[in-house]
């Protein structure tokens, strides 16, 4: 049998590590929170490009601070002539709000800059976007739970869903740790991670089920290991091609897609890991055996 690597020897170790990572992520999420962008917090975002080397982050920040815009954040965005400006205030009642800011900036910085992108999100819209983002993620987890339940037995469903939670929470924990911005595209990334991680888990589960039918004398502890090994080269190749695609988005796809592709890269990494080290140990823990699936087939 193709049983080269004893993944199952490390189930305990990695389960402890994963539990610690999840606790750490939850602590971070509760106490540090997420760095929500204007999509979810409301406010104004301006992407500014300068053609003048004299303009610097501190320049821009100083000129903006005089405009009484609330909490202003200015940072470089990709190249050293691009800046991302964010502030809390958004004034929808004044249609000239943005042009006023532009004029005031021009009077203190000169005319050698342009606004490349402006986003203004009101509090009502941002709270709706946040709500629908959360609903989307919860809904996708629920849909996966149901799908696996239909296709397999509840033990598999539980294993898969815990693996998904693991991936989503740790990815968000990392975003919290490094104060990376959470915007709409991150929600898209999280949903895609859910899909991808599930995809990985399903392939291994499919093999576990097949092997359960085939061998009645092998314990689930070893059976999962056999199944992981049998599907291992597929796991590696698919992760590799997906990561190749993601890294090319990360490196060449422009600044706007950086956060998205980073979240996806983390998600693919943790999704692959959790398919092996979360989903399978759950099957072992729940003592899945040939009976589990035979019962299903009798029904």
């Amino acid at each position: 049998m193709n049983n080269r690597i004893s993944f199952n020897k490390f189930y305990k170790l990695f389960n402890i590590i994963s539990s610690l990572l999840i606790i750490l992520s939850i602590v971070l999420l509760v106490f540090k929170g997420l760095n929500f962008g204007v999509d979810f917090k409301g406010g104004t975002l301006i992407e500014l490009r300068t053609t003048d080397k004299i303009i610097s982050v501190s320049n821009i920040r100083d000129s903006l601070n005089q405009l009484n815009l609330g909490d202003v954040s200015v940072k470089n965005f990709g190249t050293d002539q691009d800046y991302l400006i964010k502030f809390e205030k958004k004034d929808f009642n004044n249609p000239d709000f943005i042009s006023d800011i532009k004029n005031k900036l021009a009077s203190s910085l000169g005319n050698s800059f342009e606004f490349r992108r402006v986003e203004n999100v009101g509090p009502k819209v941002s709270s709706e976007l946040l709500k629908s983002g959360i609903i989307a993620i919860v809904l996708s987890l629920a849909a996966m739970l149901v799908y696996i339940w239909i296709r397999f037995e509840w033990q598999f469903s539980l294993g898969a869903i815990l693996a998904l939670f693991h991936d989503v929470i740790i990815t968000l924990g990392i975003f919290s740790l490094f104060s990376l911005e959470i915007n709409l595209s991150i929600v898209a990334a999280v949903l895609t991670i859910v899909g991808y991680s599930m995809n990985d888990t399903v392939v291994i589960f499919d093999r576990v089920r097949e092997n359960l039918r085939k061998y009645s004398d092998i314990k689930i502890f070893d059976l999962t290991n056999i199944s992981i090994n049998e599907t291992l080269s597929r796991t590696i190749i698919t992760s590799a091609t997906t990561l190749l695609a993601l890294f090319s988005i990360f490196l060449f796809g422009g600044e706007i897609l950086k956060g998205f592709s980073l979240a996806m890269i983390l998600g693919v990494f943790f999704g692959t890991y959790s398919s092996i080290y979360i989903a399978n140990p759950i099957l072992v823990f729940l003592q899945v055996s040939q009976k589990t699936i035979l019962k299903e087939e009798k029904d």
């Binding site: 595209s185 859910v194 993601l246 988005i249």
Partner: protein, 519 residues
Amino acid sequence: MLYFSKIRIILIATFTTIFVYIFLSNFIKFDDNVFNKKINLGLDLQGGSYLLLEIDNSPVITQKLQNAIPEFKKFFKEKKINLRNFKIVDDETLIFETTPDKVNEVKDSLLKKEENIINEYYPKYRAHKFDFLVDQNLFKLNFSKYGLVEIKDSSQSQALETIRRRVDEIGTNEPNILKRGNDRIVVELPGLDDPSRIKNLLGKTANLTFRFVIKGSEETFGSEKLEFEDGSEEAIVSKRIILSGDNLLDAQPSMDSETSETVVTFNLDRVGAKRFGKATSTGIGKRLAIVLDGKIISAPVIQDAIVSGSGQISGGFTFQSATDLALLLRSGALPAPLNIIEERTVGPDLGQDSINAGIMALAIGFLLVILFMFFKYRIFGLIANITLILNLFLLVGILTLFEATLTLPGIAGIILTVGMAVDANVLIFERIKEEKKGEKNQLIAFDSGYEKSKTAVIDANITTLIAAVILFFMGSGPIKGFSVTLGVGIFTTLFSVYFIARLLTSLYVTKNKHKEKLI
């Protein structure tokens, strides 16, 4: 599994060719006019402005309650029922009293289902326009849930028309104006990198009225104190409306030949001209206030009777502000004020940069995946790669066929599809390798490889599809674009793997079935 009939081969080839053609038509101008659809670029790629407007319906609701008062009075007067003490509370509740002996009769009139002119019944909702409570002889009326829906729907439709006229007047290229929910409107303006003028125009209700300025409280209609537009002074203005914006046929900016001031000239319809003539002939020497959205633009003293049905508005305009006012007057008033609650603007050069970056990332990602697959599987890698290329053509072809909108996250979805699409082939190839260990007959090994990997391939793709579908319904704008490419990508992947790749595999394997090591 490996057998393909001639008809099937032809079908697959035709289908694929059609989509390759559609794909190419995005980039090459074919001179045949067979197909002229194109992928739309999202605002984040072509540059432009997205505005989300919310209609503030509260003044409309109050106005409708106001209008209900005389209707109620008249209706019940004919039935010899006297209603009194009409009041509007909190801008949403209408209160009135009747005599205790008539309470039931009033109730019955309100509850009537057929031809109820004071409390309309909507059979489709099985509900009346108003919900009401009776407290002894006191009636409290509120718009029912469906009454509010009707109000919102109608003001949304009106607002949409007015917005369309205003946006069209400015002449931006291919604006997209859509309803969202029942009190919001999306305005998408491709190519517009500074929306401040549009925002200025959409921010105005443009409710124009001509009313007399009065002294003291000589007016029976009631009066109100209004400020001048420039804040310089205030005046007491009658509530009696002589003319409103509805009476205007046309408005244009022009130059007054005597004062060389920029003015707005207007033409009135027949009813308006008559009323204007009458008012100006009886009111010589009085000041006529021209009120726009609760502010006085100007209040000239009437010198002569104006019976021509045309006139002019002065008010210290610049040419730009006169042009905008004329435009607002031509396009009509909004039924209710609009609030801009979301705005996203992308400059055209950022859009172009995003396209370039997206194509670059796609090209590099594609190349890396193709090289990887070739080195890993050689001849079968080549099959997987041909499949991948055709898959990309199919994906872009389908997006073109449905004139879908491609956004930057959408391009990311395509790249991701490239990375994940090979998964199905990998699953199959790996399975075939396993099957060959126990099976001498190459053809049977290939067959059972395809057969046994099927559930895994389908399950794996359905999970991603579920995520894409949820994202499509919950996501907005660019994110929707991502879910579309990801979702369509799954179907094209399954097609290309089970038809194209399997066909190529079958052709190769049947030709080389005697070779020792096929995969």
